[in-house]
């Protein structure tokens, strides 16, 4: 109770002190995919640094990109990177900074099924195309010999808002299912052939837990926190891989080779190489401006926060269902952060 009153007092002081140069207020919005770990980072950072107050609203990657483009937030967040057209719309004044890795996992609501259900590339594509409609369909049973699947209708759940998690999921479906590629395609919001819409990762998780027979796709952390069952997906190598911190991390190995020090970090980890790689893994990015005009204090504090997240913050990732960034990436990210300017000069703090 003492710490609660102290927090209240501190935040009151911070709030009263706002408007002056003491407290820097930063507003960001976007992806729900990393929201669990962003909230942890932000809550911890706000408490440790009362001179900065970060606010993050998880409204979906689509919202993050849009608000960033509109200039209504200081930073955005997305797991579906901006397209070249979208970058052109902000005159190139954007940097994609990867903060953590995660996996988009199939989760479901099946009473009495304790082992992870396995999905092959074709099966998951056809479920989302609406071509497989019952859990005991012969094709599901063929790849799940050890499980008794019930005779229950499959309720497909997807996102109702524009989502990077959707982008990752349909990127995967487009890669492995030619029919999906031609009928639906990839994007943060698509024309779903079937299913119910939930708002945010939170909404999809909620809908799946409340609907018997449902299947949905969420970031791994949401499934873990809500103790929801997680399915296994067959990767390129032919192995059915359950998503966890090691199989998601494995996806970055091949990508590192594709990137170089000059990368803009907009790299897809979908269906990556490796025996034990989880095929629906991805980076998630913060959208940061290259130049913040005369908002020097904001830019500096934002860069400082991101640096802390990329270093100290990575330790929190595995417990929350994410995978830390590969260590080799950090020098390149640091080099990119050093290029953020405001008032004509880089804002990189003199001390680290």
């Amino acid at each position: 109770m003492q710490s609660a009153s102290r927090t209240l007092l501190l935040t009151l002081l911070a709030a009263v002190g706002c408007g002056g140069s003491e407290v820097v207020l930063l507003n960001g919005a976007g992806a729900t995919f990393p929201n669990i770990i962003y909230q942890k980072w932000i809550t911890d950072y706000n408490t440790a640094h009362p001179e900065v107050q970060l606010n993050y609203q998880s409204i979906g990657s689509g919202g993050g990109v849009q608000q960033f483009t509109d200039g209504t937030v200081d930073f955005g967040a997305t797991d579906g990177p901006m397209t070249d057209e979208e970058i052109a719309a902000v005159n190139g004044n954007v940097l994609h900074i990867p903060t953590v890795m995660g996996g988009v996992v199939p989760t479901y609501n099946l009473q009495g099924v304790t082992e992870p259900v396995r999905f092959s590339q074709e099966v998951i594509g056809d479920i989302y195309l609406g071509k497989i409609t019952r859990w005991n369909d012969v094709r599901l049973r063929a790849i799940n010999p050890g499980i008794t699947l019930p005779d229950q209708g499959i309720v497909v759940v997807h996102r109702s808002d524009g989502s990077g998690t959707t982008y990752i999921w349909v990127d995967y479906l487009t890669t492995v299912s030619p029919e999906w590629a031609s009928k639906v395609g990839r994007g943060r919001a698509v024309n779903w052939p079937v299913g119910l819409g939930g708002r945010g990762n939170e909404g999809v998780a909620a809908t799946v837990t409340q609907t018997p027979g449902a299947i949905g796709y969420v970031e791994l952390g949401y499934a873990i926190i809500n103790k929801m069952p997680v399915g296994a997906i067959r990767n390129r190598f032919g192995n059915f891989v359950t998503p966890d911190f090691s199989t998601v991390s494995a996806a970055s190995a091949g990508a590192m080779a594709a990137m170089g020090p000059d990368t803009d970090f907009r790299v897809s980890l979908i269906d990556a190489e490796g025996e034990r790689t989880y095929p629906v893994s991805s980076f998630t990015w913060l959208l940061v401006k290259k130049d913040y005009g005369d908002q020097t204090a904001k830019a500096r504090e934002l860069v400082r926060f991101i640096w802390s997240a990329i270093n100290d913050g990575q330790a929190a990732a595995p417990d929350l269902g994410y995978a830390p960034l590969p260590a080799e990436l950090k020098p390149w990210i640091e080099a990119r952060l050093r290029t953020v300017t405001a008032s004509g000069a880089p804002v990189w703090p003199a001390e680290d």
Binding site: M1, L8, L25, Q53, T72, G200, T209, N226
Partner: protein
């Protein structure tokens, strides 16, 4: 013919019973909802609930302090903007509202009271959030003010019209100019009724969510600056209710109970004001 009369009497009894049943069925959800609010929400109410901000996703504990303050601030901004305009327009309609302009304003006010609040939100986003460059409590307050104005206009007009003409005649006979008659005599006499209408409108906007989705946006932090995004109880309930965490659901019921209490306080004070007026004669 006697049996015909009995049949008709029986029908009358039955239909009376049917209407009683309708009343019971209509009130059932009310008791169910209030019951659920108390039963499910009361368990969340502790000291932490009122002084802490939300904890990180998935953690237990935390509260809705920022949302409670945010609700009060945004409702305050909305009322400060909407009440003067609404009362002014209502007095205009009561005093000068006979002509074509008055008829038009009255008609539009009635029609605008039914505007979907999500449309007002989108409108204010375009007009305020976009040019300002960021979300803010001020934009939220403006959206709520726009929703209030038509309501308050019509209730104010109605209340001023109810003041007996004899008061107006007496004031004019005493040499009061028209404007003082209106401002100091008619409006003063109608004031309790005007306040009632205002409180009712405030109670209504305190519960609004949709327009705030695109204007105030929401905030994890405790913020009192109206030029920054702000959290309200209604937004918090929406986020918590549609999320997967049991902890969030528990907090949502508590927040709903608090919000309902705030709305009822405004609504009941409205009735109290009227009752006092009648008691004074």
């Amino acid at each position: 013919m006697i049996s015909g009369l009995t049949r008709r009497r029986l029908l009358s009894r039955i239909m009376t019973g049917v209407t009683v049943l309708c009343a019971i069925l209509a009130l059932a959800p009310l008791f169910a909802i209030f019951g659920d609010l108390v039963v499910r929400g009361a368990s969340s109410l502790n000291w932490d609930f009122f002084v802490k901000n939300p904890a990180a996703a998935g953690d237990t504990g935390g509260g809705v302090a920022n949302a409670i303050v945010g609700t009060l601030i945004i409702v305050g901004v909305g009322s400060a903007l909407g009440l003067p305009v609404g009362i002014g327009a209502g007095v205009y309609l009561a005093e000068y509202g006979g002509g074509r302009f008055g008829v038009t304003v009255r008609f539009l006010a009635d029609v605008l009271t039914g505007t979907p609040s999500v449309i007002v939100g989108v409108f204010v986003w375009m007009l305020v959030v976009r040019p300002m460059g960021h979300f803010s409590a001020l934009a939220g307050g403006i959206a709520l003010a726009i929703l209030m104005v038509p309501m308050v206009t019509r209730t104010t007009e109605e209340m001023v019209r109810l003041v007996p003409h004899s008061l107006r005649e007496a004031a004019l006979a005493l040499g009061f100019p028209r404007w003082r008659t209106t401002a100091q005599v008619m409006v003063r006499a109608a004031w309790p009724g005007i306040v009632t209408g205002a409180l009712v409108a405030v109670a209504r906007i305190a519960g609004e969510t949709a327009p705030l989705l695109f204007t105030a946006l929401g905030n994890l932090n405790f913020r009192t600056n109206v030029l920054q995004p702000m959290q309200t109880l209604s937004l918090q309930i929406y986020v918590f209710a549609t999320g997967p965490f049991e902890e969030w659901h528990r907090l949502a019921w508590g927040a709903a109970l608090v919000l309902m209490a705030i709305v009822l306080v405004f609504g009941l004070s409205a009735r109290f004001v009227t009752r006092t007026r009648f008691r004074d004669g």
